[in-house]
């Protein structure tokens, strides 16, 4: 950890430039991401060490934000989007170290925001069961972000592989993959989610599977189109002449050359997935209580808090999820604008 934070204090320009290279960027993402996923999904296996797991992720996230803001400095829209996203990301990572109340412990029911009760000041009030809203919002953000990004990444890996196979290999591979993609694409997305989750049962891992089924066909189509375009370029022929294997060509020659449009699409898709997870939890098909997340907060409040005085219980999770999605969308917009300018 000390190794990572120390250089941040040095003159930042050359360091950020070096981190903006794909290798440094990927390293930072892994350094931030692996602890967060490990913490949320496999917390019970760490025992007493669980509280230290997230420590390396904090400097990594801050450094990643600095790098992103520096790389995208030409586009204020992208920087605003990244700021919104990283605000939630940093809150998600630092949740265990913030001075918050226990999100699952009832303390004082129906305390309105910005008021004091029993000597404790509640910034966002408490919900119908008396649990602290601020703490629930921040802990909920952790679950939404982790499952949302994991599901998107898995869908991307599957979709990209299928798209490369269909586009690069062609022939009957293409026929088979495209037919199944067409079958899945002819479902309205939410209906596919309901059918799959109803079959598998509601849980985080099953959401990942459902998102993969619904998003991978669309991703596969994009990648297939890009691969069809790129595969007739000279450098692919050169690689084929050198005798490189098909897998190597797909992953090392093709994929890096189509990354531009894919990154933009990934930002948008992160937004969709986050919405989907929140919505599914609201419908009772997603993450399960009692641990908080935004969809669950809406679900619990939507039947009890339909009074003007207590509407903050609905508004807080709604505005939280909106700001996160807005962040992803602005990021995608800024990136698209920058790629068009080049």
């Amino acid at each position: 950890m000390a190794v990572v934070t120390a250089p941040a204090a040095m003159p930042s320009r050359p360091l950020l430039a070096r981190l903006a290279e794909p290798r440094g960027f990927l390293l930072l993402i892994l350094l931030m991401w692996v602890p967060l996923v490990a913490y949320v999904m496999f917390k019970q296996y760490f025992g007493d060490y669980a509280q230290y797991v997230l420590l390396p992720a904090i400097p990594a996230a801050l450094l990643l934000y600095a790098t992103a803001a520096w790389t995208w400095r030409e586009s204020p829209i992208a920087v605003i989007g990244a700021t919104l996203v990283f605000l939630w990301l940093v809150l998600a990572i630092t949740a265990p170290y913030l001075p918050l109340l226990d999100p699952n412990k009832p303390v004082a029911p129906f305390v309105t925001p910005f008021s004091e009760k029993n000597g404790v000041f509640y910034w966002l009030g408490t919900d119908t069961r008396g649990r602290d809203m601020l703490s629930r919002t921040i802990w909920g953000c952790q679950r939404v972000i982790v499952w949302g990004i994991t599901a998107t990444v898995v869908a991307y890996v599957v979709g990209t592989m299928l798209g490369l196979i269909a586009g690069y290999l062609g022939g009957w591979w293409d026929q088979v993959v495209s037919f199944f993609a067409n079958v899945l694409l002819s479902f309205p997305v939410m209906i596919l989610f309901i059918l799959i989750l109803n079959y598998l049962g509601p849980s985080g891992f099953n959401i990942v599977i459902a998102v993969t089924f619904s998003s991978a066909p669309a991703i596969m189509r994009i990648v297939r189109g890009l691969a069809l375009d790129v595969k007739t370029r000279d450098y692919i022929f050169a690689a084929q002449t050198r005798g490189e294997s098909a897998l190597w060509i797909m992953l090392i020659e093709l994929l890096p050359n189509v990354r531009g449009p894919l990154i933009v699409d990934a930002c948008l898709r992160l937004g969709y997935t986050t919405v989907a997870i929140t919505t599914l939890t609201f419908l009772g098909l997603g993450l399960q209580p009692p641990d908080p997340d935004w969809g669950l907060m809406i679900k619990e409040a939507s039947s009890t808090a339909l009074v003007w005085k207590f509407s903050y219980m609905l508004l807080i999770p709604a505005l939280s999820v909106s700001s996160l999605i807005l962040g992803f969308n602005l990021m995608a917009d800024g990136l698209r604008e920058m790629s068009m300018r080049d």
Partner: protein, 313 residues
């Protein structure tokens, strides 16, 4: 053209066949039969049921026959216009689905009636002034509205219009237009941004073309250039997008109908799926797939029809 349509219709039939078969296999699993029993008789009653009694219950529901037999019967019934009976509501599925589709259809009608004019006008206004303040303001608003998910839009509208000001009912339990204002507004606000941005991109592209420059240089009044030359060419792309929104709307209505407790198609499907009500899920899913594929077909055919430069060979 006719060949294309036939090909797509054949593909649709194939997709629906695969879908219905997969659904049947899924819902035939012992787990789902148990879930159905628990939902109908109550968890406690099922736990005390003997194996023989359970078999008897399955037989009374017609669930103990092999799957190919059931599927065959279902397809036979479908061919005669019989969709089966709902386990949950003990009603004819065709009747249930028809009623739900009509309610959702009313919702969809108002959504499109409001969304299309708003989206096209704002999109054109943004597109003809590309890069100016007008464009930036409209683009920002459309990104903002598209970023707020339906569930959040629904909440914000309910809190301010229904709970705060008390102008509208918070739940859509009842007949009359006033009850569907909030669901319609929610869907319109979420949806119009996307169509507006597509329209804007299309108009902006046409505005930079040679023939528009020529028309302006010839001295044709600006208004006439926009109305006759720009719009005619720029509104082809938004047409396909609007038709494809129908597919999206079928996803969108689920959460809106559940939130506002509006008894439409989305709520019917969700309730049936949670209950394990096979025939309702089956019929509703097939209806959704049918609408989705049909809208894709209409958008493709309409696009070729409107744009003489593109003809499928």
């Amino acid at each position: 053209m006719v060949k294309l349509i036939l090909q797509r219709l054949l593909q649709m039939a194939l997709i629906m066949l695969v879908v219905s078969l997969v659904l049947f296999i899924v819902f035939d699993s012992p787990k789902f039969k148990k879930q159905l029993a628990v939902n109908e008789l109550g968890g406690f009653a099922v736990a005390t049921l003997t194996q023989a009694d359970y078999e008897k219950w399955l037989e009374s529901k017609g669930l103990n026959v092999p799957i190919y037999d059931r599927y065959g019967k279902w397809v036979w019934g479908l061919a005669h216009g019989d969709f089966g009976r709902s386990f949950q509501k003990n009603e004819d599925v065709g009747y249930l689905l028809g009623r739900a589709l009509i309610k959702t259809g009313i919702l969809a009608f108002w959504v499109f009636a409001l969304m299309i004019p708003i989206a096209l006008i704002t999109g054109v206004l943004a597109g003809i002034r590309e890069g100016k303040f007008q464009d930036r303001a409209i683009t920002f608003l459309s990104v903002l509205f598209t970023s707020i998910p339906e569930i959040a839009t629904a909440i914000i509208l309910t809190v301010f219009l229904a709970l705060g000001l008390g102008w509208l009912p918070a739940k859509s339990k009842g007949d009359g237009l006033i009850y569907i204002v909030l669901p319609v507004l929610t869907l319109v606000l979420y949806d119009f941004g996307y169509v507006a941005r597509m329209t804007r991109a299309s108009v902006a592209e046409v505005m930079t073309s040679q023939y528009i420059r020529t028309a302006v240089l010839k001295g044709i009044p600006y208004r006439r250039v926009i109305m006759k030359h720009v719009l005619r060419n720029a509104l082809i792309a938004p047409f396909t997008v609007i038709v494809l929104q129908l597919n999206w709307l079928l996803s969108g209505v689920v959460v809106v109908e559940v939130f506002f407790q509006y008894d439409g198609f989305g709520k019917l499907l969700l309730d049936a799926a949670l209950f394990g009500d096979l025939y309702v899920v089956q019929a509703a899913t097939l209806a959704a797939v049918f609408v989705a594929v049909l809208s894709q077909l209409i958008s493709d055919v309409g696009y070729t029809f409107l744009n003489p430069r593109i003809r499928f060979s």
